[in-house]
Subunit: 349 residues, 3 copies
């Protein structure tokens, strides 16, 4: 029996199956610093213990997306090692902050299966849940991926496609307990614009662009223990579809989030990801730009210090975003690589 992990094929999944993923991972100040060096984020809550303490945290929390990538990375060896494509995310909620010293683990449950008409692949829906060392849920989300069948002749399972919310309802967003952002220091944060100042329909070009290097996206992806082969192996990828290593889609999400600081400097927390599409692949040498639209605003029950903004952030490659390139009638404007729909929390006046 081979001792190497060949990953699961479509036939290996069944509805209700629970996969407890390896490898638990203790996050530290070291991970935070690497994330800082790789993405250059400037949100003050994740940058300064003093800002965090003033808001009621014991110390500065780990960036929400760093925690997401770690929770996600664990699922790759079991869920998507034989994936053809990552099709989507939904219902991703950030339940509570992660601090240096916390150890994250992930469990996934198969909640949907649907073989494709070609008989060679199928779509697997999983709900993945990241927990800390106290078994408290930190992040959960649904994703669906197209996975190869081991054998085209295998019978198709009964199709089940889960009903998924098109967006996380604002009323179910988690707000960090024991915190207050009343009187949030906007000189320290670098932006005078608070929740009250944004309007649905408002579009913001985040202006700056950042070029990705091979070393950067590989270091980031290894930091998360994400083992998807396409990111690391030029020998094999050089002979493949693109002729080069593909950048982890989450790398673009983190770059877009960091770029969005310029215009959304007080979007202190990511509360939910409603959905996301990696519209086109991204490669080393590409320069990533981003713009955002405010899709909606929502107050948060019991909190007059924080409000929620639903954002759509579009990232592009080698295409500045002054003209807000995005979805077309059919498909997307050339150059668009990410279409992300998510909720952020922002202090109120």
């Amino acid at each position: 029996m081979t001792k190497t992990n060949a990953g699961n094929f479509f036939e290996d999944f069944r509805i209700g199956q629970v996969l407890r993923h390896a490898t638990p991972r203790t996050l530290t100040e070291g991970d935070r610093a690497l994330y800082q060096a790789l993405f250059g984020s400037r949100f003050s809550l994740q940058s300064s213990d003093e800002v965090a303490r003033k808001a009621g945290y014991k110390q500065s929390p780990i960036d929400d997306l760093l925690a997401f990538h770690v929770v996600f990375g664990k699922t790759v060896p079991d869920i998507s090692l034989n994936a053809v494509a990552n099709l989507g995310y939904a219902e991703c909620r950030f339940h509570r902050p992660v601090f240096p010293g916390d150890t994250l683990s992930t469990v996934s449950e198969v909640i949907g299966l649907k073989e494709n008409s070609d008989g060679a692949t199928g779509v697997v829906y999983v709900r993945s849940t990241g927990r800390n060392q106290r078994d408290e849920v930190v992040i959960d989300y649904v994703r669906w991926v197209m996975v190869r069948k081991r054998d085209k002749a295998s019978p198709a399972p009964e199709a089940k496609v889960p009903a998924l919310a098109s967006a996380v309802d604002a009323s179910s967003l988690f707000v960090p307990q024991g915190t207050s952002f009343r009187g949030f220091d906007v000189e320290a944060s670098g932006s005078p614009h608070l929740w009250d100042d944004y309007e649905a329909g408002e579009k913001i070009d985040h202006v700056d662009g950042v070029t990705i290097e091979e070393a950067e996206h590989m270091m980031a992806t290894r930091l998360y223990q994400n083992t998807a082969k396409v990111h690391f192996n030029q020998f094999t990828e050089g002979q493949g579809r693109f002729g080069r290593r593909l950048i982890y889609g989450g790398h673009v999400i983190s770059l877009a989030r960091a770029l969005s600081f310029n215009g959304l400097g007080n979007a202190v927390l990511v509360a939910a990801i409603n959905g996301g599409r990696h519209v086109a692949p991204c490669f080393a040498g590409n320069t990533v730009f981003a713009w955002s639209e405010v899709l909606a605003k929502a107050p948060l029950e019991g909190r007059d210090d924080l409000g929620a903004l639903r954002l759509r952030t579009i990232a592009t490659k080698d295409l500045p975003c002054g003209a807000f390139p995005g979805p077309l009638e059919k498909g997307y404007a050339e150059g668009v690589i990410l279409d992300l729909d998510y909720w952020v929390l922002m202090p109120r006046r």
Copy 2:
């Protein structure tokens, strides 16, 4: 109203104006490790908690230049986002050590303004002060930058050029309180040469060279939250003056300091920067070399365990320094990229 930061233009500055910069930043062991990986420094005081404790510190202090870059980085969005050129530094003093866990913030005061004769740009002089979470000054320095005017038609302000010391006086250098370098372990430090062994006029070729990669200088610069666009955006810079990303001048300073270990292995602390010129731009792929001249020696009042050396360190690109390339009658020898004048502290016999 746009919510993105367009930076300040020359017209936006006035004498006496105080700018409190975003984003406070807590430095940690993670930042230290990244700095180590990026520059390879070997000064024992910053490498070993044991060496630091023996000298009276609670633990190993953060590299002086890492703290400098963080303090400096905060000023970029407000001071130099529209800068044409960084013209100089002066009167930079390191007041006290920074330890993991300290949170640094920066405030700048405009101390000089002078419009250029072209009417399109002007020189802005600021004194920037970095403080820790106890509001203690950690680093202060003056820098002046050439900044674009928003509108050529704007009237020129009254010119004021501050009087700046050509060098920090040795008597005003800060020496870390509660420390003693008596009996400093030169086997641990790797160099037998102490303050007593150096002479004014002595020149030292630091011999080694190190090639810079794009991923390295971008990771370093993001670690400092320095947002200057020219370092990150190949799409735009590829169409610009140099056709490529420009490396943050401070990256070269840190490389030169790390290279200077070979010959100045007991220069445990940087106490002041008297002045610095980025003589020519540096790009990824360049190999940086360095040499130093001892400009002066000074004892330190009340300390017989430490002395000060005033150094001039020249860094070059793709040019070994055995022949001590430096300033010519007019300009600099081809290949010189940095001319830095600074004080270091070194244990005495």
Copy 3:
């Protein structure tokens, strides 16, 4: 007198000579995170404080090979700055775990000398010992390097070649005290295969490949304060034998160890290195693959929870390892870069 370190030449070594190397180095969570980002290791013991505590550790230990590289790096300025080639390692044992906060130092003793027949070089054998801040031995090993003579006319020393064990005896392996791997969590570790499941002679293709970038190997090597010039200086190396920077052999060892997770996921600790050969040079752009053979199995005295596996791991460049490329009658198959013989510890059923 020059103050730069020119390194030692063959004439500078004498039998019994003890070299106390600079620079003591405190390892932290920052170093662990960088090592994670650079190699992507997934062994659960080094990834999770919770896994480590369950096994009796106070927290997750630093990766054995990270500690090795740091101990090794210190010897470079004194032993191998003028080396022509690293010829081999032997008798390397890992005595006890290293934790964040520990400070490592290295001392070497010259145990063998043999001038080469060309009269221009000689082989130097040293036993290097890494210790923590409590003066406890952490790692010791023998290595031998071919070092240039300063002057061909210098008389040859009396030849002495130490008798070295071809392998560390299983009975002398160090097993971490106060630990128990009874009931080791193989869901958390990601591999169901324990010591009992491996057989001598078994070969495992580790399947995955990872491409190395210049920024990565330089950052790793600087993290260890390894100053060997060939890794960093493209200006000089571009004119040299290979036309490019040479990657530190230890980088390949760490990559191979990380790749070996796929097939050896419960090989929680490296206990000894019996020998290692860097068969061919490795350069940025190469994709590294690896396979392993189980050479032997050994129980550990007094431990029914852990056993030892003697492994031979072969790493290749740009050559997948499905066909187990390795030693030929004479030399090695084209593409092989590393032949490493070592002991790992693995939980038993």
